[in-house]
């Protein structure tokens, strides 16, 4: 019976899909572990840098500090959106994209000019249709072989150069932060002008600076932006793997459910076919008797 055959094919194809999603889940699990380790080992550096900037900024009036610290007066906002290069990771990309889209709408309503830098291919794929005129730069393929140096050279250097050229006044990073494999959190982080948690008390008394405080700060602040961009990339990468793992886990489970349902349907159909055949035989035998 044609129906039986098509059911059998269907079951086979769903089984294949399950096999693939299972493999993808394993791959993401392995990648997730690596990404998490990277996030972990990147932490001491960013903590130190943040502490140093905090200690320094406490001694300098933001109004007279380097441009990266001066509170913004302009109304041009740059959003840096971190998405994945690839899909199949649940709501990971769409959450960021949706947030950016509504932010752009609300900012423009309040009279700001918005531009967007897309890090990751997926975000750009969507935005190039809807917000094409606002997309300024696109960077892809960063997470494949992520190092601080590359993040710095590719993303941050452009940001800083554009800021120095006066193309925007405020820069905000939008990315997913890794909480656990099951939960990720959308994060907004303003990096220009830098929001500094100023330290009131410096351990061991105020240090001496060499060269001058303002010179050190002028070097440290761009570096601080770099550190935060790298941090965003690392977090986003870990979240991506986590989200993909969860998504694939769901897919495996759904495929299993489907196979079970199709199996039952297959057996029922088969049974029905046998019953009909039996009825026909019995009917035939009865009519011969009579």
């Amino acid at each position: 019976m044609a129906n039986l055959k098509s059911l059998r094919n269907r079951i086979r194809s769903v089984k294949n899909t399950r096999q693939i999603t299972k493999a993808m889940k394993m791959v993401s699990a392995a990648k997730l572990r690596r990404s998490q380790e990277r996030a972990q080992s990147a932490r001491p550096y960013s903590q130190h840098i943040r502490r140093m900037i905090g200690a320094l900024a406490a001694q300098i009036d933001p109004q007279f500090g380097p441009a990266l610290m001066v509170p913004a007066t302009g109304r041009r906002v740059e959003l840096v959106m971190f998405t994945a290069d690839r899909g199949l990771c649940g709501s990971f990309n769409s959450a960021v994209i949706r947030a950016v889209r509504s932010k752009v709408a609300s900012l423009e309503e309040s009279g700001h000019t918005v531009t967007v830098t897309c890090v990751g291919r997926k975000g750009h794929d969507v935005l190039k249709r809807q917000l094409k005129s606002r997309v300024r730069r696109v960077h892809t393929g960063l997470t494949k072989n992520l190092t601080f140096e590359r993040a710095d050279a590719v993303v941050t250097s452009h940001l800083l150069a554009d800021f120095a050229n006066g193309e925007f006044d405020v820069c905000i990073l939008v990315y997913n932060t890794f909480k656990s494999a099951l939960s990720i959190e959308l994060t907004w982080k303003q990096v220009i002008p830098m929001t500094v948690d100023t330290l009131e008390e410096v351990r061991g008394g105020a240090p001496e600076y060499e060269p001058e405080e303002s010179d050190v700060l002028a070097e440290l602040l761009p570096h601080g932006v770099s550190v935060q961009v790298f941090h965003a990339l690392v977090e986003s990468d870990a979240s991506e793997q986590g989200a993909r793992m969860t998504a694939m886990d769901n897919a495996v489970r759904n495929a299993g459910d489907m196979i079970r349902k199709l199996g039952i349907k297959y057996n029922r159909t088969r049974q029905a076919a046998i019953t009909t055949e039996l009825m026909e035989i019995i009917g035939g035998a009865e009519s011969l008797k009579g």
Binding site: R38, Y45, M52, L56, D152, A161, R203, P207, Y209, E210
Partner: protein, 138 residues
């Protein structure tokens, strides 16, 4: 020489060295300087160069190649924050030579002071330092 301080060498990607040291000598932007335990707290910029560490109880000094960065000295702690750091035994001289060649070649084709030029000249400097350190006698 019982006095020591905590020394951490940190890069954005990992913690390279964390341990006790009794003396370090670092390549400051305005010249080389040494730090002994109990040094006045200070913060300084570092250029690419060689970090020399004396560990208590170990006779020989340790050599580490640094790219540019920062150093923070507090009473009992020295923290070196740099983009890249390699201990002498982690350096592969052939890699360093190759990196320097590549960086020099790239630099030749780039406008000076451009964004890319800065990155490549940093890499070239670091590769040079690595080669120098690799040649030091043990």
């Amino acid at each position: 020489m019982a006095a020591t301080f905590q020394l951490d060498v940190v890069t954005p990607e990992r913690l390279v060295i964390s341990g006790k040291a009794s003396y370090v000598s670092a390549p400051g932007k305005d010249g080389r300087f040494g730090v002994l335990p109990g040094h006045t707290p200070f913060v300084s910029l570092l250029t690419a160069g060689e970090l020399t560490i004396t560990m208590p109880g170990e006779g020989a000094e340790q050599h580490v190649a640094l790219s540019s960065g920062y150093v923070e000295v507090t009473n009992d702690r020295v923290t070196v924050l740099v983009q890249r750091a390699l201990e002498k035994n982690q350096i592969n001289p052939e890699d360093a030579v190759r990196e320097e060649k590549e960086a020099t070649a790239r630099l030749a084709g780039l406008p000076q002071d451009g964004l890319e030029a800065v990155t490549w000249s940093k890499r070239r400097d670091f590769a040079k330092i690595c080669q120098q350190i690799a040649q030091l006698p043990n």
